[in-house]
Symmetry: D4
Subunit: 252 residues, 8 copies
């Protein structure tokens, strides 16, 4: 659905060429497809500038595949399946060939991102920094989503503040970035430090990495919100996909 | 301090025109002024694109005024004093005339923002939406900070989801915004709804408004993070200043 | 046990036809059956208008079956077994044939609702709305319980506020409902939006669906309580059965 | 605004008698009045069956009075001001004479409910039960709101489970009620016991009454949600107004 | 070690018959046996009137058995192994024959209590009441421990407040009890109701039974502490053993 | 009301000398007095062995005085007013002369306990131990309540585990006690240590004393529940009155 | 009391020169003075190497003064009164002249530290770093306590990670320190950064400074514990006194 | 990298023998090795006095082994792999022979510590005390780390305060220790008691041992922070490695 079609509908409604009941029905039908167990939102890319993603947990493999098919057949732009387990990923890729999966089959991972029909390449510079190696799966979900949107993010792994020189060694890349994503668990201090170094937007992802007092990411989430580096914004725990969407909004 | 000065220093260091000890001392002196009780960071605008703000709580009125003076005398660009109580505001404005105070003296407020030497006017469109009238003080802190940075934000008050048509009535302003800030307490659902309507970056501020189960803003903070509208980012509870800084980063 | 029997007992007690000790004993015996590990409350339907349900967790399959037998043999009206795992469900259905199980055996589910001897069909209109596909198991527990009570609920899946038009497409069904149940995880905002749209009673179920900051449903529970849509009431996390009982109370 | 007006507008839109732009403008204007600091929702009674209430905290006395005036001048039905402190109450009653205030001036209370233009008397039976004397202010907010809506609630004070016979002494009133509201702090057990006694809808209000482990009402809120008496629903902590709205929905 | 031995030691110390170094060594040796991984406290029964119990979690099966052997060989009175898994139980019973295990091998349980050398039978009346069938494992741990101490507790299962008549049917047993233990999960209201009915000491055990809002027993723990029935005391979540020890202290 | 009167009523009911309606009315009237804002429970001492206490917070001074009068005029045994502020205490003592107040007027205290008509002196030995001087107000509430019940408790102040010898210096008093109450804030370790020293029942009161991490008593409450000294029981935070009632139950 | 006296007592006990009863009494009397409301621990400096401090909250001014007198008259070494309000400080200084108060009377502070009879000057280098100016009161409590112990701590204020060069400017002082104390609120990241820079022991104090999400210091406490800089240790929220004691233990 | 090399680099930079670009590159390369997924910090031992440890969770076995190889090949001093599961341990030991593993293969453990190239033996006395046998795995992680650093720690197991004489039996070892580590779960009271006994630094590790109210170690963590024994410091939950690093800082 595009702006021309919408404009014509409004004109037809005013001229009487279409009844208000019919116009309402048309709009309702256009905007989503009702699969019974899901209402696939074809209107989202028009409204939000990015397509609906399929959040896999709680859906059967067949449901994941059916929604992906619907979005590929009747929509445009990239299609994403996030947090898929091995079985959901397999069924979806079989039903809808041509998808890119992260991480690939050489890695035993709990969650996978799959995307089809990636956007045209874009040249804004997005940098993803992680505090430790254990934050890489979250950074990877973010990077895969950004690739679906056409970005070519750089990932700088293991730059935690316990050895801040490892971060400073890539100061040029940080200073030249259009947006920086910081994925950090434990006490999440990396977000404050990066926020204190650069003028670009910083999107922080608290991760569930760390010992007991890390409280499954709640400590990092609170710490990032209490950060003394002004203007750092935060997304949900382990939410690499959400951070990528925030980047897409900033750079639209 | 500007880039030319820094470049010259590095060259002098390399050529031996300045010793490494002296270069270190020069850099240290340049970057901040040590008032004993505070280290005023003159380097921040160079690094982060926005000046250091003075966070008033826990400082004496005289300390607030001294830091403001230091920033006004030896720095450039806007100077901000946030969360000032009546006495801190009065002393600071007396010491450093020419400041703009929000809210002004006709209102009995707990906190005030004062700024001096606002930036040149900018024409990006920033919209601040509040869920209720009680969220206006937080929205006001955000708006005053944005004005110090040169923006002319529009505030749309009282658009909570209990009557979502009040929000839709300003759909054009939302759709045309470069960045939207949402200030909402209670369950914070307005952030999800706004995020679902537009493609622009959405910065959500959870506020401490609401009955007992609102838990002084913690409920809204958690709810905004759990938001199903992808790509919404969040700052700390009642942190209108932080949201304004996030906007400045996005629109730098 | 019905009102006539009770009235007669009181009269007999007054006339001396029965001693107070015997009357006490009769009342005690009537009201429940003591199976040793459980006291089956035959009096509940008389008192609360709905029969006791068997909450399976923590009971052995044999205990589940024994209580169901007792309720079917010595009571009237529907009998329910909730949150049964596969083994509990199998043993109960074998012992007490004729039960209806949800979800049926084609689905691998963690929990099942089984009911026997459903009430006569009723024609009040109950609508269950879910925010996402992942909320369907909770909505299903609610729907199965309502069917046991004779209702024919309509389930509208995947209407979350990230695409609020999907909800509005069914506005007629919402506006015509006698009671609406909203099952939503993450930030639970759907309850506020539905509560803002209609005048009917809204019973909200927070679900444990969502990323880390959803805190296993606690975020949605708090958010629904802090809701700015007045008069929305809330039941426990994932408690589809409880929501159905609330509907039955409202429509008794 | 009533249904006839709305129907006519839709017909005019279809016939071309009114342009879609004008129809949109008319609808927007009708539905709320923008006072700058507040958007008064005149549409709410049409949509939800109850008028918008003014939540006083965070508003100036003048703002409270202005919104009340707007609702009284341009709306119909009852108007409510909740949680008003002494000064807000005084200014509002002076600006808008004829209001009823609870508690009245003989009592030093922290919060007041004021209502104007109460609905016609209704004869459904609503019973409000409190666990202790200290829960009476919350019960009073609920009762005053119900009176604004035309109900004549009965308040049974101090029936806590530590002496359950005090509750049973009013069994007839409980058994005959159309809806029961239970206001209880501490461990909130009264909601379970009442829910176990009657078949009517039970709306539970956790209150912030109690020693340290009552955690300002959080303990009662959690306990009521974990209640073993099925079908009890819960509103927010100390939210007497919300409970009254829930009753109004159930008995509309 | 008994009082006579201790008295003699003190006399010998004073008379010089034993040096203070030797006295210290004797006392240290007497009071516990150091197995390297554990310090078995033979002195506990002398001091606290009940022997040390072996808390199985975190110990290897061999360690459990070794401590039990030490206590059986070099101590007197009952010996207890609590929270043992199947393997720990098997190894301990093999090493130390003659133990009584609860629940016995016909039940698949997560935890077991084993005791050896139970005390002489005592005739105080201890009643354990449970809110539901799912609380029986906790009640069972309590009952088994009491049996090791010589008591013959009565267990009244499934008396929750949703059907309070089931509790009242055993009023005589409650009224005649010397101590009552209440095991209840969910909202834990049974402790308040029992505390309101009787004058005997009531020891409440919050259990981890219940839906999401039960928060693994934290809700019941808080609710029992906020109880309006004065003089009810509480032990830790699921701590049937601790409740039995509290009973033993009260009835020593 | 005593046992003879109750027995006679039951006989009259059986013989027809009194109708069941009248018997019900008599029982209802006997068991409490309805003052409108409170239901004074005259039946409590019959049932629980201790009279109803008046919890002052949330009641007006006049309400406190009226309930005390009702209990003094129409009941027997001690009457207690707890947590009274200065004004409540003054009005109650003026209305009902002869009360004993703790702490007396020479001390500026936030809360007061007042009691009238103390029980006959009893000679069981109750010892109250506090961890610090700051725990004395809570210990004092407990001691005053015990004095109302006829006990003559010994208070041992400031025996915290940071200097455990201060506790051991009173070992004889501890070892000879019939019940020990431990009032401790901060980390509450004193309860564990006392529980490890003696065989008597130990009732622990967590107090809200301590720095930030003491979390207003929640830390001590949790720590006492996690105590490794088996059989220690716990009452609510700062609940000296509740601990005294627990002692009364144990020593009835 | 010193080691010689203790040795002699043990010898006398063995030789019979003193009875065990007398030895026990002597030891008890020596180790503390019982003022009724407090047990002043004269033994502490012998045992822990630092004297008992008087924690003012919850004590009357007279009690504070009496304990200070007792410690000054019958003990040796420094005497400390912590967290004293203005009245407690005034009475204590009047009763016991010669004390040093921090902060002095020119500052309106909530809490004061007073010390008498400071230890001999010591030359270990202790550095206290604060994240912001608002952390200075906590740093001040720590510094005053250290001065009482004879240390001459250096305070580096306002070195938060938002401008990490302010910290690096004092790298030499950090690198040369024997122990470093870090006082930081908000997200507490400064502890991680300092811990990553130096090899000396780092004692971190979380402070209650910051916006809503700082949760009164709980966020900083959790974040410091989750710190990725290994070997950093933490004391309680705002506990400057505790940090000073930790330093004294490390440098004894 | 040592101090001489660093000094020479600075001299060369000043003399022009090396350009500032080259100096920067040299420093960057020296300080860490970038393996792609990890930045191995060779500079850490120079800066912090202890080498980087490899935190295994979230890393593949191959990644663990690769980082260990890098540290062994290009660094000096001990190398540690912590929290390794069986597979990570096996692969790492195969790749890098000569490591010492704790616990060894005779024990089925969840986590292992492995170290290579232990430091020279040191003779400071470190004592690790545990409250129970179940705390031994945490104490073991601490002890193994200390052994890698050259210490020979003594472990005193099972000294919990429920039988404080078991602790006092080793008073000499405690009194003679240079540093004491206390590992305790449940209520963590052992830290307070040990802190009250000795003058040495006490590092407390809260462990996740205990029943429900122990809240996975959060209760012990809070309790240790609220400890009344001044100067006790705390590390994160179950963080034996962190405690060992704190000891190494204190005794460097």
């Amino acid at each position: 659905m595009d702006v021309q079609e919408l404009t014509k509908l409004i004109d037809d409604l005013r001229s009487g060429a279409v009844s208000s009941e019919d116009a309402f029905a048309t709009l309702s039908n256009w905007s989503f497809a009702d699969l019974g167990f899901a209402r696939v939102d074809h209107h989202r890319s028009f409204r939000q500038g990015m397509p609906e993603a399929i959040y896999a947990p709680g859906k059967s493999p067949a449901q994941c595949a059916a929604i992906a098919s619907e979005l590929l057949d009747n929509g445009t732009g990239p299609v994403l399946l996030t947090r898929a387990n091995a079985e959901q990923a397999e069924v979806a890729l079989e039903s809808c060939p041509g998808g890119t999966i992260y991480p690939d089959e050489t890695v035993r991972a709990e969650h996978h991102v799959i995307y089809w029909r990636a956007s045209e390449p874009r040249d804004e510079r997005v940098v993803i920094v992680t505090a430790g190696t254990a934050d890489l799966p979250v950074a990877g979900e973010c990077a895969a989503t950004l690739r679906a949107f056409g970005f070519g993010p750089v990932v700088l792994a293991d730059c935690g503040v316990a050895g801040v020189h490892r971060l400073l060694a890539n100061y040029d890349e940080l200073a030249g970035a259009d947006v920086i994503v910081v994925a950090a668990g434990m006490e999440g201090a990396l977000a404050s430090v990066v926020g204190g170094l650069v003028a670009a937007p910083v999107v922080a992802i608290p991760t569930s990495v760390g010992y007991g007092a890390a409280l499954e990411g709640v400590t990092a989430l609170l710490a990032m919100h209490a950060s003394c580096a002004h203007g750092v914004t935060v997304v949900g725990i382990d939410n690499g996909y959400g951070a990528a969407c925030a980047v897409a909004r900033i750079l639209r």
